[in-house]
Symmetry: C2
Subunit: 671 residues, 2 copies
């Protein structure tokens, strides 16, 4: 590249973009760690985006109608940190850049949404940003349908690298965006032809332009270092009625000795090479020094949206109070006023009618009652609507001609669904939930983990949660998936035993602000076990005494979900033999762990033998069986220690010994 020519062609642009490059080099050198090349390659694109297109106000990064900027290629985090510093975001003083990747800094190795307001999502695991963005763009559409263009009218801009486009989830994302003509989604592809292992062609020869066109996108190809072309492409993309992909031909690590090489992807810390690059840029200030004129040009960019924001605020204030309150409530994630009373009334009715229902059907019944209270719940399923029971009549279907629809047919795309749901939650004003078979937790895992890390309350509706699904066999029978979700920090895993617990779980999931929920629901019918109505949400305590021992308490059976019924029957067997047996229902281990020790001891007192019952692996159970803090009990577990099999469900429970008789025998063997 002839840097001189670039600099001369547009000196003002050049100095602004160079500030990004110089700060990136300095911060990576200070950390002796990080990725220099991507911000250096995409500095021109980002500069034009921020200067001429992105609707934002650096003084108010949470303004609801801002455009969203998502750095899907999260390893290039110094791009976003440099930009935020330069535009004058108060959370990004120079000190933050100097502490890049250090303990406690906002400038983490990869952008983390919970560390700074202006960081819309957490990226780094490739493909997540672009898949999140589908949810962002859908949320914008729904919000616009609900509140009008004056209140919601913003773009979602994404910078994605080759890695994002190679990850399978990107296909799920672009197919969804194309299907729904998400025209306010604009992806800028950093087409630098370099991955860590070498040139992209080492592993990929896909014609990305043709691929995006096949998915129904508007595509433009440009020189990613030419500000005029960048500007024109963005202008064109904003006008398109399709989602847009701008293929930006760039040079990774532009101007550095490592330009256009894999080495350029990583940390460029060699002092001489850094000096040479800066000299080539015509950049003469010291480390972390941005010339005052350049800084103030950037700060003007940061202030550029202030008036637009104020106008928006005026329009917002002009809305009816009801609308304003609803908008703000949904944005804050607060519960609708009637939620608590509605749940209580529903529980009361169920405890009286005591239906036998699969908990997936219990979930649908709950949603039928709760969805109408919300404007922000957005349901969906990865092509298992009738099986996951996720659709209620009032939602409407999200579609090109029905942007206010709040049910999404995600197609056979568990990963894309989960990631897009995270995007909706991050956008704000939406509470997404989506269903698949629990076994396909595996497909959704990368996004389920990120929901937990990002502290967003996405709800994963996982039905067919054990061998109870029967004939579909071991490929579809989860045995380790409860353990997988329970092993993940900041995740509530609910395995309700009946309709009442299901409603309680939904109430917690739909009021959570920082924690995603996994609802583990049965295919097979279950009796109502909570026959005595209580206003109190017992699931909130994680575990509770469902049926206490008659006579001397010798046994405690702890069970979840479909195995609570089995534990109750085992209790009958034991009580008949004069063995006092308590049954504890434990719909949420994480919430039980959060209770104070006194409560936990009350539910699980030391002394009686304990048997855990769950049609899943034992991992995660020992804490509740052998006792906490060394208060040991004789204990055992009835569950699965291998993959399931294809056969009718009742035969499988027999085969694997998950029966009342076996539970009773197991308890007796311990006495």
């Amino acid at each position: 590249m002839d840097l001189n020519a670039l600099a001369k062609a547009n000196p003002e642009h050049w100095s602004k973009a160079t500030a990004i490059r110089a700060l990136t080099l300095d911060a990576v050198a200070a950390a002796n760690s990080g990725h220099s090349g991507m911000p250096m390659g995409m500095a021109d694109v980002a500069t034009v985006l921020f200067e001429k297109h992105l609707k934002f106000d650096a003084s108010n990064p949470l303004w609801p109608d801002r455009d969203r900027f998502i750095l899907s290629a999260g390893h290039g985090s110094m791009l976003i940190y440099s930009l935020l510093h330069l535009v004058g975001d108060a959370q990004f003083p120079l000190e933050e850049l100097k502490n890049f990747r250090q303990m406690g800094a906002r400038t983490a190795g990869h952008p983390e949404n919970f560390l700074a307001d202006a960081i819309e999502t957490t990226t780094g695991p490739l493909g997540q940003g672009i898949a999140n963005s589908v949810g962002f763009a859908m949320a914008e559409e729904i919000q616009r349908a609900q509140y009008g263009k004056k209140i919601a009218d913003h773009f979602t801009y994404v910078i994605a690298g080759d890695g994002c486009l190679m990850e399978g989830v990107s296909q799920e994302a672009i197919a969804l965006a194309g299907r729904h003509k998400l025209s306010k989604l604009i992806v800028m592809w950093d087409n630098n032809n370099i991955t860590i292992d070498g040139p992209v062609t080492l592993s990929d020869t896909v014609d990305q332009v043709a691929r995006f066109k096949a998915a129904g996108w508007h595509v433009v190809e440009i020189d990613g270092h030419n500000p005029d072309q960048i500007d024109a492409a963005l202008t064109e993309a904003r006008k398109s009625d399709l989602p847009s992909m701008i293929a930006c031909k760039t040079h990774i690590a532009l101007g550095h000795a490592a330009q256009d090489t894999s080495k350029g992807h990583g940390a460029l810390t060699d002092a001489d090479q850094m000096a040479a690059a800066k000299a080539a840029y015509g950049w003469t200030t010291g480390p972390f020094e941005v010339p005052a004129d350049v800084k103030s040009a950037w700060e003007a960019i940061g202030a550029r949206g202030a008036d637009t924001r104020k106008e928006w605020e005026e329009r917002f204030d002009a809305m009816s109070r009801t609308k304003r309150e609803e908008f703000n409530r949904a944005l804050a994630g607060d519960a609708p006023k009637k939620l608590s009373a509605t749940v209580k009334a529903f529980k009361k009715q169920i405890s009286e009618s005591a239906p036998k229902l699969a908990t997936r059907a219990s979930s649908e019944k709950t949603l039928e009652v709760l969805n109408p209270l919300y404007s922000e719940t957005v349901g969906g399923s990865a092509d298992l609507t009738g099986s996951n029971n996720t659709k209620t009549a009032d939602l409407g279907v999200f579609d090109i001609d029905n942007r206010g629809g709040r049910y999404v047919y995600w197609g056979i795309r568990e990963h894309g669904m989960a990631s897009a749901m995270n995007g909706m939650a991050l956008h704000g004003g939406m509470r997404p939930y989506g269903g698949t078979f629990m076994c396909f937790t595996d497909y959704a895992r990368p996004a389920m983990r990120l929901a937990a890390l990002m502290q967003v309350p996405t709800v994963f509706v996982m039905t067919h949660d054990s061998i109870g699904l029967g004939e579909d066999g071991p490929t579809h029978q989860p045995v380790e998936h409860l353990a997988i979700s329970r092993a993940t920090p900041n995740t509530y895993v609910f395995r309700p035993a009946d309709t009442i617990e299901t409603a309680e779980a939904w109430e917690i999931a739909l009021t959570s602000k920082d924690t995603p929920s996994v609802l583990s629901l049965t295919r097979q019918g279950l009796p109502t076990v909570r026959l005595e109505h209580k206003n109190k949400n017992l699931t909130e305590q994680g575990a509770y005494v469902l049926a206490d021992a008659e006579g001397k308490r010798q046994v405690i059976l702890i069970a979840t979900g479909s195995e609570v019924e089995i534990a109750l029957k085992a209790r009958d067997i034991l009580q008949e033999q004069g063995i006092g047996t308590r049954v504890v229902s434990m719909p949420c281990m994480e919430l039980f762990a959060e209770q104070d020790e006194a409560y936990r001891r009350r539910v699980l007192p030391a002394g009686p033998v304990r048997v855990g019952v769950e049609a899943a692996v034992r991992q995660g159970w020992d804490r509740w069986l052998t006792g906490e803090r060394g208060k040991w009990n004789k204990a055992d577990f009835v569950g699965m220690d291998r993959f399931g099999a294809s056969a009718p469900a009742n035969e499988l429970f027999e085969k694997f010994g998950i029966t009342a008789q076996n539970v009773a025998d197991t308890a007796k063997a311990l006495l």
Copy 2:
């Protein structure tokens, strides 16, 4: 559809295809469960494939040079079961079809490779079959390069549905196949425009033909009910020098009242509708009855490849004894003769030189010694070759002009890599291993689970296995991933403490025949802790006493991987204070669990307090801490109970309290 016209146009074909449809209807009705529509829709394609193209011999389904047939749309399992019964596969008598989806039958809900020889892979989780097939096709290329076209010259045929093509992993698969011009891979897409939720257009409008072309595939579009078109397309595909996709326009549940509807996807059991469909087919025999002439026509198809197989066997026998033995050894998964001696010599040398190495580097050193013993190891990485240390010089790089290369640059495609590796292992004659960061277990999960379920010894090289990776931060720091892999049945999870244990883990992984292995390896340097050479593979016992207590044994510290060093230092602190402390290294919990109780008690005797140390979540540890079978010990755990952070590794270990001092203090607090 005018079924009469179809029947008249080619009556012999029609009756053969109809046999599949009728058997499918009967088996699903008998089970009252299953998926009728797909086999009914793809019966014509499958019939032509089996009759005119597939190289196979029903009497010898394991013949190594057979073409592979993969039903990626695994829910349509009655297609493959019908075919195998019809062609006379001895494992599929009529009784099996009558027991469809019943306990103990080979005819499981979804095809399971471990239940029948002719079932090449386990499908059902969508997209897996097509991604496996990339590995099958690569394995064939490598085998051909090694043994010549006379020995290895077979096609991989795949039937994939809309669901397979929507799953992201399909994009990873088709991009890889296109990149490597896997011309012997032929995918037949069941283009029926139906998913469970409704028409495909509900969630997808991708132009699949353009998409595959963009990935470098040869594409043909045909009427999937026209045998001449099917035959011509397959002929053309076999000639192409690109991978081929045949878009077969079909009618799901052809001829049934549910034809072309979502209902047709499921179990079609209505007796009247079944009778009507059979009448429309002109099929007059009773349930499960195939007219003798049709059955013998199919059996002739099953026998058609016998001569070809015999000719192959003659060519095989004509190879040199060395080549034959090598081929058979690799196919059987047996170890090279020199393996054991080589590992011992390597361990001896390491125990003497006692290098300080990250275990990912230990892994590379081990592979440098072991790979040259093998012709069948196939290494690779999802674009982290230099970080995963998976490449050794002798392997060569698999490429279009180097088909014998045994290292694959998989690109940023963890899922596709894992699934294709499974395909290689299933093909036979290959031992695949591939690397990524351990955190990206999440991306590879669906295929890692299937490796365990399918009982194939794929090796997953997971480096950067804790907060020890440092600055990349929590998106890249696994905390729950050891628990996730350990929760999965039939999986060995190795977390070696040094180079010796790494070599021992590799020896086990590379001799395993039925169990996949996860190698959890550090980014950061670790000292050699096994300074006394032992020929015996101690890792094979799962856990062992690394350093025993001096004086009265009061404490047992149990640690894995990078935390063994910390445990040893904690032991120093405790011993200095006169507290006798044993350190147990536990590189593989699963293998320790397999030891007899006497050994387990010897390593972990009751009495001393126990502290587990692992930079990961506690889940899975309690069994080893509080004791088995009620032999309780005071115990605690030092590890992670939350996500990590972005900072230098040593600061993170301090921050999260994973230090020798804290381990010592924790133990003392229990005394």
